[in-house]
C-alpha cells in the first residue's frame, strides 16, 4: 500500500480527504492516473497538457522531490509515502 497525502485545493476533488491509500501502482505517472479514476479531474490540476507535473506543484516520494529522481517515471513500491504539494510561490501578481 502507498500512502498519498494531498493538501489545499486538491481536497475539493477527494471529498476533503487528506490521506489516501493506493495499491498496485508502478510509478508516479500511474499513481496520478489511478487518482484521476477515483477523483475525476484531479490529474488536470497536478499535470499539464502533456502529463508533466505543473511548474508550481511538487511531488515528493519518501521526502524526495521527483524532479531530483525520474520525474513522473519515479518508481513506487509498497510502503512508499507520497506528498503532492503546492510550491512556495507568490508575490507580484498573486
Amino acid at each position: 500500500m502507498i500512502k498519498v497525502y494531498i493538501t489545499g485545493h486538491l481536497k475539493a476533488y477527494t471529498g476533503h480527504k487528506r490521506e489516501l491509500e493506493i495499491s498496485n501502482t508502478e510509478n508516479v505517472s500511474s499513481l496520478i492516473r489511478i487518482l484521476d479514476e477515483m477523483f475525476p479531474g484531479i490529474r488536470d490540476r497536478i499535470f499539464d497538457d502533456h502529463d508533466k507535473t505543473r511548474p508550481f506543484v511538487n511531488i515528493f516520494v519518501n521526502g524526495a522531490n521527483i524532479r531530483d529522481d525520474a520525474n513522473e517515471n519515479t518508481n513506487l513500491k509498497e510502503g512508499d509515502i507520497v506528498h503532492i504539494l503546492p510550491s512556495v510561490a507568490g508575490g507580484l501578481s498573486a
Binding site: G8, H9, L10, G41, D44, R45, I46, D48, D49, H50, D51, K52, R54, F56, V57, P86, S87, A89, G90, S93, A94
Partner: protein
C-alpha cells in the same frame, strides 16, 4: 452583472431596473477569474478560473453560481509542446448553434466546445497555421483575448491575438487569414505588417455585422468590410492607447473605449476617469464622466468594460483598483456599485 477579479468572482443582481445592485460572492475565493459570462441560450454561467499552482480551468453553473462543475479543460494535443496557461476569453456561439462555445487561451489558440462547455477541442487549422511559430507575445502574454462570432453567419469568426493581430475564418475555423491591413505598429520596422500588430479588443457593430471596431496598442480602428482593411479613427481621443472596447446595445454607431495615457503610464489621462464614446461611428469622440470621482487615477483592463442588451443600454466598467461603476443610460451618468473589490479582470452583464 458578472465580475471576475484577481481573487474570485462576484455576481451583482438588480431587480429594480438596474437602480440598485446586490452583491453575492466571492465564488472561487483566491482564484483569478479572467472571464465570466452568461450564456443566455443555455441559461449557463461559464467562468475562466485560474490558479497559480493548479492551473487553468473552465467552470460551469446551471444555477446562477450556486454550484459549479469543472469541465474537461481545453488541452493542446500531446504531440506538441504547448500547454494551456490561461483561459482568457469565453464566448458563447450563435443562437443557431446553441451548444457551441468558444474559448481563447494562452499561448494563443482557439478551442471549441460542441456540448456547452463540457469538452473542448483545439482548432486544428490555427494550431497548424504556418506562421504560428513566429507569433510573439505582447506584454500580457501570447493570448487570444477576443472571439467574435457573426450571429448571421456563424462560420464567420474573428479572433484577436496579442501581439499577432486579427485573424478571420469564413468557414467556421477550417482556414484562417490575417486581417491587419492598414493597422499601424510603432514597434516593428515594418509599420504595416501582415501580422504582428497588437490588437487589444475587437467588437462588432450590432446591426451591421460587416462593421468592426478595434482598440489597438497603436490606435483605434474601424473596418467597414468585415476586417478586410481598417482605418484609424482615433480622431480627438486623448490617447490612442487603451484596452477595452464595447458596443452599445441600442445605438449601432455608439462604441465605448477607455483611453489610457499610454503603455508607459496606464492611467486615464489628465487625472480624470472617463469612458469615451461616439455617436457617429468614431468621427468624433466625447468623454462620459458624470458620476465618476475627480481626480481619479484608474486603469481598466481588457475585459473590464461591458454593455448589456437593455433599452436604454447599460454600460459597466471595473477598474484595476476594484471600483465597479454602472450606467443605465448609455454611459451618460454613472454610479458606484462597489469600491472595495479586488483587482477587476472582467465584467459582463445580461438579463436573466
Amino acid at each position: 452583472m458578472l465580475v471576475g477579479t484577481r481573487k474570485g468572482a462576484f455576481v451583482f443582481t438588480s431587480k429594480d431596473g438596474r437602480r440598485s445592485w446586490k452583491a453575492s460572492g466571492p465564488q472561487f475565493l483566491g482564484k483569478e477569474i479572467y472571464d465570466i459570462v452568461y450564456d443566455r441560450r443555455n441559461k449557463l454561467l461559464l467562468a475562466s478560473v485560474h490558479d497559480g499552482h493548479w492551473g487553468p480551468s473552465v467552470a460551469r453553473s446551471y444555477d446562477l453560481g450556486k454550484s459549479w462543475k469543472i469541465s474537461n479543460p481545453p488541452k493542446f494535443p500531446k504531440e506538441g509542446k504547448d500547454s494551456v496557461q490561461r483561459v482568457w476569453n469565453i464566448t458563447p456561439g450563435a443562437e443557431s448553434e446553441p451548444n457551441v462555445i468558444y474559448c481563447g487561451v494562452e499561448p494563443a489558440m482557439l478551442f471549441r466546445s460542441d456540448d456547452a462547455g463540457e469538452n473542448w477541442k483545439v482548432n486544428d487549422s490555427l494550431l497548424n497555421h504556418e506562421t504560428r511559430p513566429k507569433w510573439t507575445p505582447g506584454g500580457g502574454g501570447l493570448c487570444m483575448h477576443t472571439i467574435l462570432v457573426d450571429e448571421g453567419d456563424p462560420k464567420n469568426i474573428h479572433v484577436g491575438i496579442s501581439a499577432v493581430g486579427t485573424m478571420n475564418s469564413k468557414d467556421g475555423g477550417a482556414s484562417w487569414k490575417f486581417q491587419n491591413k492598414n493597422v499601424f505598429v510603432d514597434f516593428l520596422p515594418d509599420k504595416y505588417p501582415e501580422y504582428g500588430t497588437c490588437v487589444h479588443k475587437i467588437v462588432r457593430h450590432r446591426e451591421r455585422p460587416d462593421v468592426l471596431y478595434q482598440q489597438n496598442h497603436n490606435g483605434v480602428f474601424r473596418s467597414d468590410n468585415d476586417g478586410e482593411d481598417w482605418k484609424d479613427i482615433k480622431n480627438n481621443l486623448p490617447s490612442k492607447f487603451g484596452f477595452p472596447m464595447a458596443a452599445d446595445s441600442n445605438d449601432p454607431k455608439r462604441v465605448y473605449v477607455v483611453p489610457l495615457e499610454g503603455d508607459f503610464s496606464r492611467v486615464t489621462p489628465d487625472n480624470k476617469f472617463a469612458i469615451w464614446t461616439t455617436d457617429n461611428s468614431g468621427k468624433e469622440r466625447y468623454p462620459l464622466t458624470r458620476g465618476f470621482p475627480k481626480p481619479a487615477y484608474f486603469e481598466v483592463l481588457r475585459e473590464g468594460l461591458a454593455t448589456d442588451s437593455e433599452d436604454p443600454g447599460g454600460v459597466y466598467v471595473g477598474t484595476k483598483t476594484g471600483q465597479l461603476f454602472a450606467s443605465r443610460n448609455h454611459g451618460n451618468s454613472w454610479s458606484l456599485v462597489s469600491g472595495v473589490l479586488p483587482e477587476i479582470l472582467s465584467v459582463s452583464a445580461s438579463s436573466i
